[in-house]
């Protein structure tokens, strides 16, 4: 086996090469099937300070719970208007915002369904490798209870960090903060 190419930080200047404003809206200007939702929040460091130079990417299934990828062989409807990939940068207050659609449930290992979720990667100056986490929906308590990935996290407080909290607004919005270190640190995955 060849040694994989090692990760290096995106540094502070990634906007030069990675700016794609259209990737903040995964709904293809509202044409994607399903319920439009907003995911918004703030990225903070170990001192609670906002991180103004982070890039967040998300990857998710469509409203029917199917990924736009050849490896997803489920017999569920594809959506030509939904790629499922998003990318945003944080602003000076460390805030970010995605518009997307509510993902359907996808299978885990075996045939059990996972709770609906969105995979997220975090890149920033000071991160030598991106961090990986998941966004779950706090208002889907029963599904979350049975989810195999949430169950792999022993500490209930760490599990809480993966739950996006509903915000009263139209369209439905969820707040999901990313804490890189310390008090309230987001649970990150070894993948």
């Amino acid at each position: 086996m060849l040694i994989p190419t090692a990760s290096q930080t995106v540094g502070p200047f990634f906007a030069v090469g990675l700016t794609r404003p259209e990737l903040a809206d995964l709904t293809h200007a509202g044409k994607a099937k399903g319920e439009a939702i907003v995911i918004e929040g703030q990225v903070r460091d170990g001192e609670g300070a906002p991180v103004p130079d982070a890039m967040l990417e998300i990857w998710q299934a469509n409203a029917a719970g199917k990924y736009a990828h050849p490896e997803d062989r489920q017999e569920k409807p594809a959506d030509a208007n939904f790629v499922g990939f998003g990318r945003v940068f944080t602003d000076r207050q460390g805030r970010y915002r995605f518009v997307t659609i509510r993902p359907g449930a996808v299978p885990g290992c075996g045939n059990a369904l996972q709770a609906p979720h969105i995979a997220m990667t975090v890149f920033a100056r000071g991160l030598l490798k991106h961090l990986v986490t998941r966004i779950y929906f706090a208002d889907l308590a029963a599904a979350n209870e049975a989810d195999p990935v949430l169950s792999a996290i022993d500490d209930p407080a760490a599990r809480q960090t993966l739950l996006a909290k509903p915000v009263n607004s139209t369209p439905s919005a969820y707040r999901f903060d990313v804490v890189l270190q310390g008090e309230g640190e987001t649970a990150f995955f070894d993948v």
Partner: protein
């Protein structure tokens, strides 16, 4: 039957906390990472950007009215998995400083000239054999405030997707024989020497084009799936 990605490969990457690179101190997690099963969510991944790339996107010297200042270079190579199989049809995004060591970015205050003919941003998609090719100018070294008299070795930032969510990679390509590498905490954050060497391109006379530009070869190895299939 689904082959998963073996965890051993992760040891090639730098640790999150590498205090010689000061910005890691408050941005690296305190808690150990949680091992999770690799599900459909990880084994799939964005199929993004293949259709929107224009031929000139891979020639960073032809994006403005005139040619940028600096030493013209050709950077090419292959994107492979750990078994040496090509990774076709995957997007590469690159960005870099100009020949003077300056980025077109409001945060970059290095007192070196901007070049109106150089943005420093490019894209291309690998072909069926995993090959890619960029034309650019050699980036300059630039100072940063990590430690006294700190200079980043000339480098090109690379961003790649590969076949799944797990193969996502952002890295930096360096140039051979650079004395700054031995002093650079970002380069040195990679623990294994062989893995560090992989980040350094090699001068390549085959890629070099007569009376046009020197060629550098930079192959990129993405996380590969294990040989052992796992019952789904």
């Amino acid at each position: 039957m689904t082959a998963t990605y073996p965890q051993e490969a992760l040891s090639a990457h730098p640790p999150y906390r590498h205090l010689a690179y000061g910005s890691t101190a408050k941005r690296s997690p305190d808690h150990p990472l949680v091992v999770i099963p690799q599900t459909l969510s990880e084994l799939t991944g964005p199929v993004y950007g293949r259709d929107s790339v224009a031929p000139d996107d891979s020639d960073l010297t032809r994006q403005h009215k005139a040619a940028p200042i600096g030493e013209r270079i050709i950077v090419s190579g292959r994107v492979l998995d750990q078994d040496g199989r090509p990774v076709p049809d995957t997007l590469l995004e690159v960005w870099q400083a100009n020949a003077a060591g300056r980025y077109i970015h409001k945060v970059d205050q290095h007192d070196a000239p901007l070049d109106p003919n150089f943005t420093g941003s490019g894209r291309c998609v690998t072909d069926a054999e995993g090959r890619y090719r960029f034309i650019s100018i050699k980036p300059g070294a630039y100072p940063w405030r990590n430690h006294p008299n700190a200079w980043r070795p000339p480098h090109i930032h690379f961003s790649l997707f590969g076949p799944s969510f797990l193969t996502r990679l952002v890295t930096q390509m360096y140039f051979p024989g650079d004395p700054l590498l031995a002093l650079d905490p970002i380069y040195l954050s990679v623990p294994d020497e062989a893995a560090r060497r992989r980040l350094v391109s090699s001068f390549d006379i085959e890629t070099t084009q007569p009376e046009f530009a020197l060629g550098y070869r930079f192959d990129i190895i993405l996380w590969g799936r294990g040989a052992t299939p796992m019952e789904n």
